[in-house]
Symmetry: C2
Subunit: 148 residues, 2 copies
């Protein structure tokens, strides 16, 4: 069983798409993360769900969550305004998260190692510099490792 | 809408439980993370899914995933052996992840800030030092922030 056999389609978003679209995709489909693609549809980075929240919150809330309590504004309004017209690219964290990627012939253990190292519930299956074959989620991998 | 209104039951595990049980719970229920409780059922830490993989992999795989490819052993066998008879407590990462916790009267923005700061898809709702009221997932929170 190699990465190419485990790779499955997974929702992705272009880095020039509106950030609010990333938030809606994540929320609507109950996803642990999104794959961000470049303008040639090659995998660029993985955006974990909590990072989408980070994009949408004012800096002082992250520094001190207790300050969030005193904001006299509906959370939804603030969320939409902070994301505003920004693109996904403009909201990505710096430094950028390394793309957790494995080649199509990676073994189950190799996939697990890349996922654990990146602390990311998702790895992309691709040959570097080409569109991805698909992705493998932590769930799919754990099922494979525990069922055998 | 406050944390107490959004808190819902969420799977948890005692820190003295077998680590393999944590892995099975996570895999079987498609969870982003597990809540780890102390021996008095008070929330102790949150164990994100990828960290469970980390518990189960030999150190050299994490240092260099390419080495994982040369291991001549079924992933499942290795996984079970590495977890072996260890407890959850014995497998927790050091330093321990700070418990993302909010009080029952936290606002939606405060919950979002704690979640984003901890980069964790889950926050525990509890008064410090007592059993938890429940937990709020990233999905539940995003639904609330985007639907309004």
């Amino acid at each position: 069983m190699l990465a190419r056999d485990l790779a499955a389609p997974f929702p992705s978003i272009r880095r020039d798409a509106p950030a609010i679209e990333a938030a809606r995709l994540l929320a609507g489909q109950n996803l642990p993360a999104l794959i961000v693609l470049d303008e040639r549809d090659r995998p660029f980075t993985v955006l974990p769900g909590p990072d989408v929240l980070r994009m949408a919150l004012p800096r002082y809330c992250l520094d001190d969550p207790a300050l969030a309590r005193v904001i006299d504004e509906a959370a939804a309004d603030l969320f939409l305004r902070e994301l505003g017209d920004r693109t996904v690219a403009q909201c990505l964290p710096t430094p950028l998260r390394e793309l957790p990627v494995v080649s199509p012939d990676a073994t189950v253990l190799e996939i697990a190692s890349v996922m654990a190292r990146a602390r990311n519930p998702l790895v992309v299956v691709a040959t570097r510099g080409t569109p991805m074959l698909g992705a493998i989620t932590l769930d799919a991998l754990m099922d494979r490792m525990l069922d055998a």
